[in-house]
């Protein structure tokens, strides 16, 4: 099983990197863009030893305790069975 963790800055936190990318895209002529937020992405390969619910709980714990700083960041977790 694979777990995907997407980390982004909270909406209330200014994202200077996202803003810089946004203004660069605007200068380059890309249209229809309202906002850009930069984040981080983690791909965790699970060994299959845990049932899906427990695996999801474990990955959520990893994401909240280590992969993010709750002062500034939030995250989403997605699990995917591998063929």
């Amino acid at each position: 099983m694979k777990a995907y963790v997407y980390v982004s800055l909270k909406k209330s936190v200014l994202d200077p990197q996202g803003k810089t990318i946004q203004s660069a895209l605007k200068k380059m002529g890309y249209k229809g863009l309202e906002d850009v937020r930069q984040g981080k992405y983690f791909e965790l390969t699970l060994d299959g030893g845990l049932p899906r619910n427990d695996a999801e709980a474990e990955v959520t714990r990893i994401a909240s305790e280590i992969l993010t700083n709750p002062v500034i960041e939030e995250f989403q977790v997605r699990l995917e069975e591998q063929p």
């Binding site: 209330s12 936190v13 200077p16 990197q17 810089t20 700083n69 002062v71 500034i72």
Partner: protein, 231 residues
Amino acid sequence: MKFGVIIFPGSNCDHDAYWTIQQVAKQPVTFLWHESHDLENCDAIIVPGGFAYGDYLRTGAIARFSPVMEAVGKFAVGGGLVLGICNGFQILCESGLLPGALMRNVGLKYVCKPVHVRVENADTPFTNVCREGEVLTIPIGHMEGNYFCDEATLHELRREQRIVFRYATSSGDIAPDANPNGSLDNIAGICNQGRNVLGMMPHPERYSEPELGGTDGFRIFQSLVGVMVER
């Protein structure tokens, strides 16, 4: 009375802090390895600048889980003196010993230059030889020094006078253009409720001898030594 300077893989201001304590302050000092569970009876701990664990994941995020930081946490809760400088400040925030977080500088550039900071609270073990409102010149050198916390925390920091240093002009005005990194409220350094843990982005050890360009940073060490002698 003894200082301990922590070494993480990637610390690079550890020797500067050690030198300042040993050669300038003339105090006993020892290095503490990040894998150590023991603070060797030190009376004050310096969490130095650098790039602990390569700043992987986030600055300070991995360092906070090192054995030595577990010991520092207990030491701090018991009232022990802890000074986090630059990366050390980031580690103390990640560890939860200080509130808030240090984010990427607003200008997205590494900023390395002497800056002016105003002493907002001279009643701490780290600033007691300073005057409130006094302007010190101390260098910064960082990419992630943009202090952030939520509004409730900022309110608490202000109410409890825990904002110790703020970026200012040479005449002591807290102006936006004196802010090198976008820090909330021009915050350059804060302390915990007990006033025994201080985190600051400027590097006092880099301005502790006239040969280095300035000595204002030494006031922090002088304050600490005075407190330790009294204790």
